[in-house]
């Protein structure tokens, strides 16, 4: 077994497994939560998978408890994977100095700058190591349909979902995001993170990890992309999210299938996410053959 099971929790008729495994990509133990819906537990019918990427400071726990994905995922027969947001325990200098850089803030990129290039390879971890380990696992692989995977995320995790989706055409059946950082090259959070992980001058690497830049040259026809942003979100108001920049790039590039919705009064919190997670599960389910 690649995974140690820290807890098994009954949730909405299914089971939430709190897991840990040793990652060769990050060089650390990595925590991950897995929700298996009742349909997959009680039969040999494998469940399609939704990967949920968390925002700054979060662990697999926050959304498992407060995001409400299990509610609709259980009804439709969808598994949900909640990875962590960075390696933990590398003990790099400055790793814990900021809440928006380093531990809890891996930004789903492969860092090229020392010392972060040591283990801050969350792109590689989410794209390759975690799914291949999970799907081939003797205990948990049997529940999961490796050919039907979608991705979603919140804030920094929304940036992660959008960029990993755009970078890997065909790998995910759809993408959605809650209050994503849409143009990290142009906002304070992204500038700080990319300067640290790639270097301030390495703007080519910045572009390769920025949804607004990526969509300009994206080769796909139908983006199958749903984005919700709350109009009461202070980070949106402060220019950290910049969904308008993504919308402009989508329009200029002529990409179809992008639905950006502005939800009146909603903030940046899990209250916002929980209010729309049913709809994001439905969005994924449509492309995963469940609706």
């Amino acid at each position: 077994m690649a995974f140690a099971t820290k807890a098994t929790i009954a949730s909405f008729g299914g089971k939430l497994f709190k897991l840990s495994h040793s990652s060769s990509t990050t060089g650390t133990p990595m925590a991950v939560n897995l929700f298996v819906p009742p349909s997959a537990l009680s039969s040999s019918k494998k469940a399609p998978v939704l990967i949920y990427l968390s925002g700054l400071t979060c662990s697999p726990e926050n959304c498992s408890e407060k995001g409400f994905f299990q509610h609709r995922a259980s009804q439709l027969g969808l598994a949900v994977v909640y990875p962590d947001t960075s390696p933990r325990g590398l003990d790099l200098p400055g790793e814990k100095d900021s809440w928006d850089f380093g531990e809890g803030a891996g930004f789903y990129v492969n860092a090229t700058q020392q010392p972060w290039s040591k283990g801050y390879k969350m792109d590689e971890y989410i794209t390759n190591e975690l799914p291949s380990t999970l799907f081939s696992d003797a205990e948990f692989g049997k529940y999961l349909d490796a050919d039907k995977v979608s991705i979603t995320g919140h804030s920094m995790g929304g940036h992660g979902a959008l960029t990993l989706y755009l970078k890997n055409e065909g790998k995910y059946k759809s993408v959605s995001a809650f209050a994503p950082i849409c143009n990290p090259s142009k906002c304070p959070w992204g500038e700080k993170a990319f300067s640290g992980y790639f270097g301030a001058e390495n703007k080519e690497e910045w572009k390769k990890n920025d949804a607004t830049e990526l969509i300009k040259t994206w080769g796909g026809k139908d983006a199958r992309m749903l984005i919700d942003v709350g109009t009461g979100d202070n980070f949106y108001k402060q220019g950290q999210l910049l969904p308008e920049n993504l919308e402009a790039a989508v329009k200029e590039a002529g990409v179809k299938g992008v639905d950006v919705r502005y939800q009146k009064d909603y903030d940046h919190s899990y209250y916002f996410m929980a209010s729309f997670s049913d709809e994001h599960v439905d969005h994924a389910a449509k492309y995963l053959g469940l609706l």
Copy 2:
């Protein structure tokens, strides 16, 4: 305005108001959260009210964020009130020494023993002061139908819901509870709390605040009572909840309308509650004229 509004949060189409008011019953400021469903915000149609009583250590915040009552309450047009679990800030000797007695652990009783009798009057606060203040409030009263109120709760709050319901026949239209302490006179949590709040010898007062005792002499015909208990709940296994004692008393007294369900594998957490909160809202809604 009796209430200071600390935050207004969009949630499931409605608004969650984080409020605080000065309570003459407890002699302290009291925090309370109020969810107003979209139907009451957008029209003059007042919403029936579900009062949710939290468990040990909790504040109004926990269930507002993790219980997911808002999901179904929003659909049906139900308001939800989340009170606190005790006075906070009385600065009584020993008030913060235990997680299961004193602050965060008021047990929804009117303490008779010094020093707790000073402000630990959560029965009085929940039964009278809070609803009368809320329903007559210039800002929030207009949303709430004071004639249609039900009550629910979790663990210590389940004990609170059951006892306040049984003590006040006709005041609440229905009652439900998640993993309630059903027979506090006979379990360690209850023995500690009642010894402290009433004195170890004052067994008459214990009986008046114990659902299993109260139901033996209850005068009603149809209890409209739904209880869920998880079979994987460690507190259940340790004999803190004792739903079987309540069931035996119900049977002996010939009370109708009590539905105690044992939910396989579920634990004592918000994962458990969230999984069944839709059904508890439906239970209340049936008796509040919403279903």
